[in-house]
Point group: C2
């Protein structure tokens, strides 16, 4: 285990700044004294784009490569046309650093709100593919803006890309007590991509006889997310289905204020990036209403990725205890302080 962390921090837009500050506070508090934490902030996002027209210059991308990991707050502002920062910065990072695993755990902690009656048990993790599918940017528009326009989006899926994420998901499932893996796709309609996914899922599964497998169409999966979320353990799915399902998962398991994610390159060839699932929420930026818990849980995922398992677990236990006891509204800062105190104990 490395006893130093050289961290890149991209606070980004809106509440990104505020939640990242709390993430760093808890990170400092949880790390043993002998671990040297170095952070470097990168000014990327809406402000920079407005000032310079840049989203992610190549030189910045190069510098980012030198870090052990990246902590990102949130990207996006109403003043920037939709897609510019998402494609030019956030997705560019995921693709450039080959973050083929987008890891998104969902757990309904005691004391948290859920819109579901009866508070079912929710404790699953979505392994979302991060570098293929409809997110590749392939496609285009012909005769744009005219009544004869044709716009296409091409979902690109490769055996190479699918197999590595499916294998990662089986490993995750194997390491969990219930050992169950569900593939979610839509192979009755998207037959080409769907069959590729299903064939690889079945073939790799032969190497994991201890893992129980299941297949669901994405539409049916949304039903089970609200009627029977306890049926899920590990889910593996395509980039876009994963995007949709993990927002729904967040909604049923405590809200988007608690949903953490890791954009992971398991090979270590490039730094992995950790970020809350929520966006920049410009409507509450600066009000102290942002919940930093999702970012703090993302820090836990980062620590686990970097080999600091006991520190990661300490943060997760602190969050669990904090949520169970929390009463009344607290500010972003107060939540960060409370968790920093808990993990330092």
């Amino acid at each position: 285990m490395s006893r130093s962390i050289n961290l890149a921090v991209i606070p980004g837009d809106g509440i990104g700044q505020e939640v990242v500050a709390q993430g760093l506070k808890v990170l400092s508090a949880v790390l043993p004294e002998d671990v040297k934490l170095q952070t470097q902030e990168y000014d990327l996002g809406a402000k920079r784009w407005h000032a310079t027209g840049e989203t992610l210059p190549d030189a910045e991308l190069e510098r980012l490569k030198g870090h052990d990991a990246i902590l990102l707050g949130a990207i996006g502002a109403p003043s920037v046309p939709s897609g510019v920062l998402e494609r030019g910065l956030l997705l560019k990072l995921r693709f450039a650093f080959d973050h083929y695993v987008n890891l998104r755990p969902s757990k309904l902690f005691p004391g948290t709100a859920t819109p579901l009656a009866g508070r079912p048990e929710i404790d699953f993790v979505v392994v979302r593919e991060g570098t293929e599918g409809p997110y590749t940017g392939n496609g285009g528009s012909l005769r744009t803006g005219t009544p004869a326009e044709v716009a296409t989006e091409v979902s690109v899926n490769t055996a190479y890309g699918v197999e590595r994420v499916v294998r990662y998901a089986y490993e995750q499932a194997k390491a969990r007590p219930r050992r169950k893996l569900t593939l979610v796709h839509k192979n009755n309609v998207l037959v080409h991509a769907g069959h590729l996914w299903k064939n690889i899922f079945d073939r790799v599964g032969e190497e994991y006889p201890e893992v129980t497998t299941d297949y669901l169409h994405v539409d049916a999966a949304t039903i089970f997310f609200v009627t029977q979320p306890e049926r899920f353990d590990v889910i593996v799915t395509d980039n876009l289905f994963g995007d949709i399902l993990t927002d729904l998962a967040a909604a049923v398991s405590g809200g988007i204020g608690l949903a953490a994610s890791g954009n992971i390159n398991p090979t270590g060839a490039f730094p992995s990036m950790f970020e809350p699932v929520h966006g920049s929420a410009p409507d509450i930026a600066g009000t102290g209403k942002a919940d930093p818990t999702a970012t703090i849980l993302s820090v836990a995922l980062m620590l686990r990725h970097l080999g600091f398992e006991s520190e990661a677990a300490r943060i997760e236990e602190a969050v669990s205890a904090d949520l169970a006891e929390r009463s009344g509204a607290r500010t972003t800062d107060e939540i960060g302080d409370a968790l920093a105190v808990r993990v330092a104990d």
Copy 2:
């Protein structure tokens, strides 16, 4: 208003047979005596495919064209490879008959179950595009089954196809008391298709100043479906997003046993097709457990489409009253009988 209905019936697979029988029972009961109802059954689905290898022969498609409407039960069986009947029969019908509006209302009736705590008010309708998007079947697979496989799915979107369904959705919104229309897409990632949709949505909106508009990314929309479904009135969306969202909508508003749909060609150039959102549910086929209500509500959508507005409303009122009073489990037949009695009153 035509005083006769020449109906094609495709019971299909699994519970399809059972629910369609109840749909026809209620249809006969609700129609005034002077309306001549003619039905013709088409033997299409898994059994035919197993016997002959045919999904939807051209001659059948030709004959189907001669009907005023089509009532379909459900298509699909575990014994048939995924995609064969969906693409070869169900989607072939939607595309051949240019069913560009896939109309799917969601209403939480009193007395019905919802997984949502607090029983929010749910009364919205999804206008799902039915002939474009990722459903076109464009794409393919190269080096299939090898470690070098590449599989693509192409989402095709045209100004022609988007404008007509968006216009239909504005008309729906204009006719409802709340007059609100929400576009759901993912235009921060699927920028080509997303911008096409958004531009047309905004431009057509200028002709409907009385309609309030809103835009949501599909991932965010799933959150609001469970935390704030009352915010929706009419939703217009792409074929795949509509597929996913309407299953979720069904789950929160009484379950898939109540979700009706119409595959509509508003021009009348081809017969429209009405079907429950649910599938063939082979696990409960023949047990009498299938709820025919979704099919019966689909019959109401069909009657409205054919100009029998008061008969359509009568079915919807009967369903509403039946659900409010229903107690204990009833068989498929018993539910059909109860509704037939109510509409005949």
